[in-house]
Every structure is written in C-alpha cells, then in structure tokens.
Symmetry: C2
Subunit: 384 residues, 2 copies
Amino acid sequence: MLNFIYWNPVQVVFGHNSITELPKLVPDKAKILMTYGTGSIKKNGVYEQVTQALKGYNLIEFGGIEPNPFYETCLKAVDVCKREKVDFLLAVGGGSVLDATKFIAAAVPFQDGEPWNILSGKAQVTQALPLGAVMTIPATGSEMNCLAVISRAETQEKLHFGTPAVYPKFSVIDPAVTFSLPKKQLVNGIVDAFVHVLEQYVTYPVITPLQDRQAEAILHTIIESAPSVLADRMDYNARANFVWCATQALNGHLSCGVVPDFSTHMIGHELTAFFGLDHAQTLAIVLFGVWQHQIHNKAAKLAQYAERVWGITSGSDLEKAELAIEKTEDFFNAIGMATRLRDYNIGEDGIDKVVKRFIERNITLGENKNITAKEVKEILSSRL
Amino acid sequence: MLNFIYWNPVQVVFGHNSITELPKLVPDKAKILMTYGTGSIKKNGVYEQVTQALKGYNLIEFGGIEPNPFYETCLKAVDVCKREKVDFLLAVGGGSVLDATKFIAAAVPFQDGEPWNILSGKAQVTQALPLGAVMTIPATGSEMNCLAVISRAETQEKLHFGTPAVYPKFSVIDPAVTFSLPKKQLVNGIVDAFVHVLEQYVTYPVITPLQDRQAEAILHTIIESAPSVLADRMDYNARANFVWCATQALNGHLSCGVVPDFSTHMIGHELTAFFGLDHAQTLAIVLFGVWQHQIHNKAAKLAQYAERVWGITSGSDLEKAELAIEKTEDFFNAIGMATRLRDYNIGEDGIDKVVKRFIERNITLGENKNITAKEVKEILSSRL
C-alpha cells in the first residue's frame, strides 16, 4: 500500500425528505446565492422544496447553468456574488451545477489574474466562499469531493481543478428527487459512477485488498441495482443504493494508497470539449480503448476484476482480462450506452483534433505515464 | 435503506514515516499537551519520533494513561490543561490514550457540573479543545471517530460518550510503529475490529447492499491478513492492510443507513468494569451469546455472512447461521483469543454482578430493543 492522506469533511445528509433539513445546515445570517441549471428543478418540485425550506433566509438566485458548465456562465455568477455581497453558495442540481458552483466559490476571492488560471494550473487556490449542495443527479460524485470540471466555449477547452477549499460544507441527497430523471441521465450516471471506480481500481496492484474489495463492492452494487433503477423508476431502495454508490465512487476513499489512472477522463474531456458529447458518453468510448491498449500492464487487476465482479474463473490472466473488457462493454450497451465514436459520427478528423491538443499540451497519462499523444491516437483509432 | 447523516472530518495521514508530517498538522503557536500511556512509546521509538518532529514547539507531556483509562487519571490531565493554558492536545498511543484525550478535550471547557456528567448522559457536550492523534495500536478505530469510553475506578463503571466536537483534527497512522506490539495486543486488535464490523452488519436487513459489501470487505481482509500480521511481525503490507481495516471498522461509514446492534459492547464494558478484562476479550465472550440468543432475529444477516464471508452455501438460513457462529468462534480461538467466561474464572456470581447493573440502569439493548437484564443473564449464562 502506498502512503496517502485522506480528508473528506463533507457532511452528507441522505434520505427521503432530507431537503427539509436545510435550515439546520445553511448559516443563519448568510446572504445565499442559490445556483441551478436550466430549469428541471422547477418542474420536479425541488425548487419549491428548497425555497420552502429556506423561507425567511436572505436568498437570491442564479439559474441557467448548462451541462458541462461554461466558464463564461460562471463569470456572470461571480459578478453577482461580488455585487450582492454573497457569502454562501447553495448549489441545487447535478454535477454540472455543483462543479460550476465550486468554481464560482473559488473565483470570487481569487486575486491572481484571470480566474481561468484556477483551471489552467497557473495559480493555486487556497480560499473559496463556503458552499453547500442539494444533489439531484447521481453520477459525478461532485457532492462529496473537491473536484470540478469547467468548459470554455471560446477556446473549446474543458479543464478540471481540485482544492480542499471547495469541499461542500454539506450535501443533501434525497434519492426520491431523482425519480423524475429521464432514462438517458440515469444511464449516464450509471456509466459515470462505474468508470470512476474502475479508474481507481484497474491499474497495477500495490497490495491493497481492502480498497480493491471496496471498489468491487460498488461495482457489484451498481450492476445489481441498474435494472431496477432503469425499469422501475419509483423503486426507492434501488435508487437509494445506486445514489450512494455514485457518491462513494469518487469521494476519495477508493484512491487511498492505490495508483489511479484517470486517462479515460482526460481523453474523454476533449471529446466533450470539441463535440459536445455527454461526459459519460465519452468515458464509455475511451475506457475500452485505454484498457485494450494497456492490457498487458493492467492484466493482473483486469483478471481480478473479471473473477470477482463477472465470475470469470477460467483462462489465463490475459484471457480473463479480454473477457472482462467484453463483459463491461456488453453491460454498457445493454443499458443503452453507445461505446463507439461512430455512434456520434466522429471519424479520423475528429481524432486528429483531439490528438493535436495532446501534442500541444505535451502531457503523459496513465498509471505508468506511458500514454502520450501518439498513444491517444492509437486508443481513439481503436474506438472508431 | 434508512435515512442517515454522515460526517467525518478527520484528516488521516497514513503510511511509513508519516510522523514526520506532524509539523504540517499541529497548529504553529499552540501550547500542546502530548498525552500517552504507560511507557511503551519510549521503548519503541515513537516518543523520540514525535518529540523530534515537534522540536521547537511549545510541548508539555502527560504520561501514564492506563488501558481502559480512568476518569480519575483524566481529571489530573484536565487540571494540567487548565493550569498550563493548553490549547491543543496530541494523543500518542492506542485507543485508550485517544479515548482519554477526547474526554480531557471535552472536560476542559465543560461547565455543567462534574465532568462525569459527560459520560452519564446528564449533560450535552458541544465544545472541546482541538486534538490530534498519533495512533500506535490498530484496534478501536478511535483515531477516526468521535467516540470515547472511560472507566471510573471508584464506582467500577465504564461508560462511553460521543460528540462531533471530539473528532481528531488529524490522525497520523504509521503501520510500522505497530511492529513492536506484543501478540496479545494484535489478537485483541483483530477481534476488536472484527466485532466492530459485525455489530453494524449482523442485525436485520434494511436493503443496504453497498454497506453490506463494505462490511464484508473489511471482514475478508482481516481474515486474510491475520495470519501474516501474527506470524510475520515485520510484513509492512499485511500490517498496513490490517491497520486500515481497523480504522475503517468504526469510522461511521458502515453504519450509514443500517440498524446497528452494540449490545455486545455494552455488556462487554461491564465485564471490563468489574473484572478488568481487556475490551476485546469481553467482545469475544459476549458476541456469541448475543448471536445465539437472537439467532432467529439475526438469521437472514447471519446466513448472508455465512455465505459470503465463510463460503457456507448449503442448509437453511438457520443452519448457515449456526455454522457462521461456529466459524467465527473458531477463528477467534485459532488466533489465540479465549471466548468463555471460565477462561477468566468468572462464574455465576460474576454474571449476577453484571446483571444487577442492567437492572439498576433499566436499559434495553439490541436492534430490536428486546435485551433487558433478564436476557443479559441468559446471554452470559450461555458463555460460562
């Protein structure tokens, strides 16, 4: 096991009707900016529940945060915060609203040039406005981590940042508010959470049996709950179990002492930046390319995954690994997730655009730091 | 799944040589009281490592905290804190030192009568001195929770309290410092951690597949690592994996949304209070009494435990449950842990003493609140 530091101070308030707990969580005298997306919370009753719970609080609103939230939109919210002297942010929505709100929180007190520096890595963030969240889409895990991904329309970039300063003070998670989500978003959420776990698990072994089993626990539970989540949209327990999986898939505990590989995310972000694919759609394409490309390096962990999660017990490690890749792609396809670039009409030209960016950035990806622009091209070419 | 609130703000700094990180963790200008036990840290190098790391800090010491720490001892430390205007506590030791330090932290600013009220439940604790920990014995999980158990010599009582105010700000966990522990303490630690998990897992099902698998992950890993932990006392990975299991066994995440049953702990505490048994020794006696007594209520979960942890796949739920109980007791015996009252020369008289206390307290235990003094007598009588 590698040395690690684990710190996650988010207070999770989980369960049916938990939005009514907001008055115990939000600071009494704060000037609150409630951030939200493009309007679904006004249709599914969440807006009503939140504003009802916070009646009498000094609350103003900023709606219209889009999926894969834009830097440009966030800057407008930063202006509102400064003008209105906001001192607490309440994100009500899915990963996009939460990510945007974390960025807004960091950008308000930011003094070190243009706020894009927070994302480009040119500046370190050490302070942020305090924020809380009401989570409405099980997928990204943003409700219990200190990460955020922001896109810039102007330059077609999608970058992430992370700092303990943007951990939500609390996250209210009521699985019942997710009942109204369309199937597409549930499928996205299942794939997103599943891939989060795999990226922390399928690398090379460093003798972490507990972390491995904790990863497998989430994978098993997602596979098991997915049919009910998709078929019976009012099954509270199936939904609650899946939601808790998604939150725990990227809250840091699976990464303790292991070597993660977030190359699928990094390559996937470029597919969103250039072609507007949903985040989970990009993961479902790229993951299998990365795995096939790195199958020899990942064979031991892929074989363990094959055995323990898919019950594949015969064959060499490599044969098990191949079967595990097939099983995982079958699982994604079976729940309605496409896994090829051609499904989105992206061809060689599109791949070249992405590869060019990795040439410009000159970064290496993967747990062995062996994925450069050349390998990105090979990986994506295998996913046409 | 039941509704729940989860909040655990402890920063865990885990790994070899992690004590050297202390200067980044301890507040710069604090007047620190370093608390420790009866001297083992002076033999195994931990005292040296800590004082070396904190050279130049304003550090005073309070040693001599005994196993199952006494209220009377804690009060002496409270006096030191007040006299010396201590504003940060650093616990260096195992669960006893950590628990004592949490109590001291709560008792220093306590104004509501005698500090025993914190334990008797007569008063609520809302503030405490900040504290950090250097953990040296994998067992109680105290390094990552807000619980503490304190004994009172004068009245032969052993009571617990818990409040978010006494979460350690950080816990430094270097598995290598546990190499010098005697076998008895390792056996105690294995049993303590194992029972912590079981008490949150073997109750009645409320559809929590993820939490169940997370519990099983720890149980599997403890069973798997125990032989190496006990046989090869310098095997870092085995030790690190076991240590991480012990910390996670009682850090709150297994209790999310489930119904726990801490009756084994509650009955066990009385065996320590009256007869001085080690905490884990009491758990290893009482657990099987509680399970046999409540086997019909716990059959579903015991059968699941039998199947998934011990590979028992045939028979009725009740038959599987019986076998699981047998397997668990065999496991404890095999690593050298006694599981009967007679092993400590405790007979009917001793049982009566314990039962009398439950009559006086008039409390009911267990996930079904069906264990009164009468059932405590039946449970203990089955463990003679």
